[in-house]
Amino acid sequence: MDATISFTLNGRAVTVRTDPVRTLLEVLRNDLGLTGTKQGCDLEGECGACTVLLDGVPVRSCLTPVGKVEGREVLTVEGLGDPDRLHPLQKAFAETGAVQCGYCTPGMLMSSAALLARNPSPSRQAIIEALEGNLCRCTGYARIIAAVELAAARMRGESSPDGGAAQARPIGGDLLRVDIAERVTGRTQYVEDMPMPDALHMRVVRSPHLHARVVAIDTQKALEVPGVLRVLTAADIPGENSIEGYSKDETVLVPVGGTVKMVGDAVALVIATTPEAAQAGVAAVEVAYEPLPALLDPEEALAPNAVPIHADGNVLSTFAVTHGDANAALAASDAVVDVTYRTSYLEHATIEREAALGYIDEEGRITVVSGTHEPHWHRDFVAPVLGLEPSQVRVIMPPTGGSFGKRQDPWLVAATALAVYHMRRSVRIAYTRRESFDASPKRHPYVCRYTVGATRDGTLTGLRLRVTANTGAYDSGGYYIPNYAIVAGGGAYRWQGVDAFAQSVYTNGPKAGQMRGYGTPQSNFALECTLDEMIQRLGDDPVEFRLRNAIAQHETTWLGYPVAESLGYRQVLEAIRPRYQALETAARAFNESERNSPWRKGVGLAGMWYRFGKYGIPRVAAEAELGLDGRFVVYCSAPDYGQGTATVMVQLAAETLGVSRAAIRLVNADTATTLDSSVPGASRATYWVGGAVCRAVTALREVVAAVASEMLDCPPSAIVLADDRVMAGGDARRSVRLSEVAAEMERLGHSRKVTGVLDLRAQFPNYEREVYTPHFVTGAQVAEVLVNTTTGQARVTRVVAAHDVGHAINPRDAQGQIEGAIVMGLGAALMEEFVPGVTTGFSDYYIPTAKTMPDIEVILVEVPSYQGPFGAKGLGEAPILPTAPAIINAISRAVGARIREIPATPERILAAARRGGLR
């Protein structure tokens, strides 16, 4: 018996008939179609994405039974403003870069709106307190807080610079994101928001065991659950039960007789008419398991008599680099540091959970809409599972609530495609947060043993490095982790001898895969901390030491070849030197004057180089078209999961053509309409796909100019492009509309669509040997940390980050990426840790909140690239690398003892403080 509940929603009276104990969140989204309000956790109050205002007060709509709102006023993001009439907060969020993926944005806006209604002049502290319950994984919070300050100032009537942003030049100006008005008004439809009334619902039967043999699967009871239509097991896979194109040993569904290798391994798919029925069906599937001994520690998995988790044994992959004679170099050193560093499993913790929507498109293709880094790759991985040709499968990238590598895993696309294949109907799935933690790939935990030598005068000599990476149950795109571990692990330094070996080892922990920086942050952390130990041993200076040992631009590196692009490491270190010195001096003074307090201030420095080189063939294509309506259309595959790639592509095209952004339409990341870029990582999109886009629009401009010059009777070189027309010279009277040019091209039979290719094959003929082209970016960061030596609590008060980004296409977005990476790195340094069997979700996996945020200063060191579009380089991932080691170096220096395991929890810091003799 439903109840009738009447309330005011965004200023209008509404009445719903429903179960009054359902959450307001569900009723808003499902019954009232207001999908701007998001769900980021399992209705447990842990994320804040669902925040709405109830009588002007911010509440968690996931904890509010709808019966409670009877007779009251509810305001959601849709009611705050609309794209044509943005609320000052929405406008400020758009202009300051407070929105990356936008998934936290509605909740942030509502919390901010409540604050400003109570307090028109909030202090920074008051803003932080108002927002501390809203998690954001992308921005690092700084820009959100700046946006609230800006909106508050404007609402008080104080004049403040109004967003001239939209008029700025396409490149180098701080441009608004292409789809920003939709994002800040809750109009953007992420997968879960897309209406598909008849869609079936899918849930997954997952292993509760770390390691077990599947003896039998009985689906009978599940099929008797009302609403359950089908249960799919491995036996229902028409093609190959494998996603080996991505993960060499991973099944889609573990078959009877096979083994589950981790908690969360998928055994069956239940498809039903409602999510509840699907869930009940999952509970009713009976799987008989025979438990097997489980291995969680890679050292144990390497033991000679260890149970093999995969048939070929427990080593997934190895990589080694030998350069010079490391032993001799170490033997000839005045000082040798020999230490072991450890890192933990980390979770991406995007605020959007994994979700997919599958259907059969108008051309009969099995189509899946789901977050991805390269839809073509997902299509190619999935087609063999269905026994189909890639052309019979389509993958589309929707607006996505963050990735950080997580969305490279094709499993969800494969499972959804399989369900659509069998049901011939649309099917949707959304993970629970718990499921996302259990089943999604993690960052590899590393054990890194470093043996580093140096001469008395501070010159590095030899490096011996052993890395063991825990890849968990599966490859999961982690095959090249040892390669990345070593390349990052030697750094941008000149070594006389290197002996490095890394291996990726199976355990029954969660599968480890792609995560921001792919295998590099862990070894860079260990390297930069080890170097700091050496620097302290020698009494040297962290900046000078690194400068003295930095690789020069054209020298052959310890990898055996020179780098392909400008390497700004020296410039970065020079840029950060004064900041380091100032903070270091201030910390000394603080520790002197506060000698009797438990607080100690530490300052740490760390550097990095990060390879954004391309895997496979160094050739990328994109297309550009002149539409019949006279607009330019760019077709490329550069998925944007929040980092702003789509905006960058439009900027590059606009700048190249000399038109405004409004004249460009972007078609992005859809296998049916765009070319394969084979560029699956954010940091590579600008350089590689952007390079192809620039070439495509350049070619298109030539074709357009040639046709227009005939029409205007002038030489092609005299042609000037405007947004909607083409002129002869600067003469507006001698012009034709672009739509007319398009019509003329049609008439002449000229193709209006051209392809542009960035092709560096000539430059890298033996790319096969190198696997990745040697493109690197560099950076360095200084962290200032306050440590309480009696409780072990640490607070990062300040981070200064200097990064060589080449020429910044969108400086504000570049800074936003760096801030987000720093706060994510801070999480890894101090609080984040996924413990198998313990961690369940946001309630016990601690990501930074607004309160954790340090003051961040970003210095963009623009050392133009030789070959990137307008001098750009790759950026998205690299800035996470120096953060953790800078913070850990700061803490270790503050407490007088080394911390060699992250996260540096208060417990570990307190233990170090005691070792350091501070207590």
Binding site: V21, E44, G45, P58, K68, G133, P598, Y846, T849
Partner: protein
């Protein structure tokens, strides 16, 4: 389906409870009840929303006591000028529960009935020696909050038959101060590794007349450090006395290791630091109040 009833008065709420014979449940903000229902821990047939009962919506001074209605949200508590300026232990504990959009709905009484060993509101209530007014079919009575905890998650108040209508504590006296200390794995939106509430009353000569110290989670239920309190009585409030109090507590209580938060050893190491920190702050405030009056 679960019914949802918005009670108009305490009598009305009691009547609904009675009608359902123990299968209806009192709910205020719902921030715990909803989570427990989703997890299948509870399955009431009816939720009785008490947040619109006018008499439960106020913070008032009644005689010698500050009385907080059961429908007052934690946000209303920590924003209340008198409490924010005079009852730090309560204001800061209220500000520690989850985050603001939870504090706007959650209530002090609800936090206490949840009976978790480190419930911030429960620890603050102990430090204030607060009492709860419990009403059921047999009548109304005041009971010390300290008596309401049976074991982790189990309260002596049965929300299916009883209602806490108010919580009260003594109006702060002249030489009185309170403080709150809390440690967690991050600075907000996190359960405590350790929380500690204290209140302190001084004699005119500056020695301690009465100290009340509460901690969580160091025992199965919210913990009151009676031995340390007794030790402090009559002592000068200085570092040595506080350190000794910390030692007494460390020796007496029994924290557990929780893998996602902290080890037993770390909690034990933290106790003296946090107790000292809280006692120092409370002393400072008590002395300030003397100089102000």
């Amino acid at each position: 389906m679960t019914h949802y009833r918005i009670a108009a008065s305490v009598e009305d709420a009691l009547k609904i409870l009675e009608e359902h014979g123990g299968e209806a449940r009192i709910m205020a903000g719902g921030t715990d009840v909803m989570v427990d229902m989703h997890k299948g821990k509870i399955a009431p047939r009816c939720l009785v929303d008490i947040t619109r009962i006018p008499e439960l919506r106020a913070i008032s001074v009644v005689g010698e006591a500050v009385q907080v209605g059961a429908a007052v949200s934690l946000a209303e508590i920590h924003r209340h000028p008198f409490i924010a300026q005079n009852v730090h232990v309560l204001a800061e504990a209220a500000r520690s529960v989850g985050a603001l959009p939870i504090q706007t709905a959650a209530t002090w009484a609800g936090n206490i009935v949840q009976a978790m060993p480190a419930a911030d509101g429960a620890i603050a209530a102990l430090a204030l020696q607060a009492e709860a007014r419990i009403v059921d079919a047999t009548g109304a009575r005041w009971k010390p909050v300290e008596m309401l905890f049976v074991r982790p998650g189990v309260s002596a108040v049965d929300p299916c038959r009883q209602i806490i209508t108010h919580i009260r504590f003594r109006v702060p006296s002249r030489l009185w101060g309170s403080a709150w200390a809390r440690a967690g794995r991050r600075e907000s939106l996190v359960l405590p590794t350790l929380n500690c509430g204290v209140s302190l009353r001084l004699h005119e000569d500056g020695t301690i007349a009465e100290a009340v110290i509460a901690l969580g989670p160091v025992a199965p239920t919210p913990y009151r450090a009676r031995d340390a309190e007794a030790f402090l009585r009559g002592k000068t409030p200085d570092a040595a006395a506080f350190a000794e109090a910390g030692c007494i507590i460390t020796g007496d209580c029994n924290p557990r290791t929780s893998p996602a938060r902290a080890s037993r050893e770390y909690r034990l190491a933290l106790i003296p630091e946090m107790v000292t920190q809280a006692l120092e702050a409370a002393t400072r405030r008590a002395e300030n109040r003397r100089s102000q009056s």
